[in-house]
């Protein structure tokens, strides 16, 4: 299949998935009279698409920077950091948090950036085990911090608990999600030009610098934009692991390892996977939907073990 045909087939598949996602919900199957139900579900569908794009490309970029196919912002604590940032703001200033559209995304970005910086400082240059153990520690710390804040703040308790379970898509409205959606698209578009640097980084820092890459700049750029993608996606979905692992892995299987193709393909697959998981969770249990994070974990966890096993062997 030519690349043009494959792209068209992929877009057609995604369009079908969007149509299906708009048809599934608590009100019943279909778009409703005059598309009323579809309109009601549209913010959720758009939020899932945007977050999926950012999660997919963020995972691919983080794997490229760390030269490690097991890196995933969900597993390395970056999403945990984003949620912790949101929890801190809600814990410290619950009233002020909702006053401006950018307050919560900014808090999420600060949290994601903090954990990214710690990950770079502590986990870089070592083995997969070191990176993942650092991520595990950061994840545990931020999750504990989020739960402590949730348990102490009565009004935000349910919100933060739902966020920790990746269950925020259900409350998506255009008023709440327009800014994170824009940020997801921005992070995705801004990460695309990193492809050449990520390809050369595959050969190690010396080689990349030898071939003319400003390694520090490229790494800083990718880490910042991955944190932005993670923060924006967290604002839409809450904490969701494995999309950032699954999407780049599948992308490399489909288009090979060149980042010029992996980055857009991972973004596309991330959008399809997250929307697919959310649609599945709503389709199977319309009255009490399963969160997209739970569905992706069921699919992603065995894959993670499979990839880790393959690398070990």
């Amino acid at each position: 299949m030519t690349p043009a045909r494959a792209t068209l087939a992929g877009l057609a598949g995604l369009a079908t998935l969007v149509a299906l996602a708009l048809s599934v919900g608590a009100q019943g199957f279909g778009w409703g009279e005059g598309g009323a139900w579809a309109l009601l579900r549209a913010p959720r569908v758009l939020a899932a698409l945007a977050a999926g794009l950012a999660l997919g490309i963020g995972g691919a970029a983080q794997q490229g920077v760390f030269r490690n196919p097991l890196a995933d912002p969900g597993l390395t604590g970056v999403f945990g950091g984003a949620l912790f940032g949101i929890a801190l703001l809600l814990g410290i200033a619950p009233e002020a948090a909702w006053q401006r559209a950018w307050f919560l995304p900014a808090a999420a970005f600060a949290g994601a950036l903090g954990t990214s910086a710690l990950l770079v400082l502590c986990g870089r240059g070592g083995s997969s085990a070191r990176l993942l153990l650092t991520g595990l520690g950061l994840n545990a710390f931020t999750a504990a911090g989020t739960l402590v804040i949730a348990s102490r703040s009565g009004e935000s308790r349910e919100l933060l608990t739902n966020g920790a379970f990746g269950d925020w898509l259900g409350m998506a409205t255009f008023e709440l999600t327009w800014l994170p959606i824009l940020l997801c698209f921005a992070a995705t578009l801004l990460l695309l030009p990193s492809a050449r640097a990520l390809d050369l980084l595959a050969f190690g820092e010396d080689a990349a610098r030898g071939f003319g890459v400003d390694v520090s700049g490229a790494r800083r750029n990718a880490v910042l934009l991955t944190a932005l993608a993670a923060a924006a996606a967290t604002c839409l979905v809450g904490q969701v692991a494995f999309i950032g692992l699954l999407a780049p892995h599948l992308a490399r299987k489909i288009v090979g390892p060149r980042h010029a193709l992996v980055l857009p393909c991972a973004a596309f697959l991330g959008a399809a996977l997250l929307l697919g998981a959310d649609t599945l969770g709503r389709g199977l249990w319309p009255q009490a939907p399963l969160s997209a994070a739970a569905v992706t974990a069921v699919l992603g966890a065995p894959l993670f073990i499979w990839i880790a096993r393959g690398r070990h062997e």
């Binding site: 490690n68 050969f203 190690g204 003319g212």
Partner: protein, 235 residues
Amino acid sequence: MSEARVEAIGLAVELGDRRVVDGVSVRAESGQIVAVVGPNGAGKTTLLRALAGLVNTSGELRVAGEDPRSASAQANARHRAYCAQKPASAWDYRVRDLGEIIGAPDAYAECLARLSLADLSERRLTQLSGGEQKAALLAMSFASLAEPYGAVLLLDEPAASLDIARQALVAAEIRRFAQAGGAAIVATHDLSFARNCDLVVVLAEGRLTAAGDPSTALTPDVIAATWGASAQAEA
């Protein structure tokens, strides 16, 4: 004397609290191949990385007319290529992808052909032997220099893990680069290769112990003093 393409005077590198390269001076002109030899741990790799501008150094340094420490990575890469001792890729690229990654697919394909690797261009790196993989990655460095004249090639043990036929092809490729007006500095354990170079630099414990044309720099006395008496058979 023609213009030096590499000129290092009193170059020193400290890694942690250890001085790994200590006051080494190296010079290479257009058309010259300079071999850097010495026992394991002598500082050959660090010297090459220093010349490539990849580690912090003190001393005077000019490579292809510029001080690589003050030029950007992009500017350095225009006139200087570097290949590490054990290059490896994190991802399983196809061989031909490597040419596209460096932005020189045609030059890379030609170089693959000269290194007898053209038939492997559709294969993935993991489908190659260790030697073939090394040669495919080495070809990236050769092909990345659009214009060999006046350019500098820094190769760290390019022949390691290659079979003798491909070692000869790589040696021919280095000579071809020099004949086109480039200057090559090659770290190697292969003294017979070093003897065919224009100049030899002998390092031991980060210091220069001998330098000059192969007949004066690789005497039995130098070899015995640098590698020990057991290596004298090499002489």
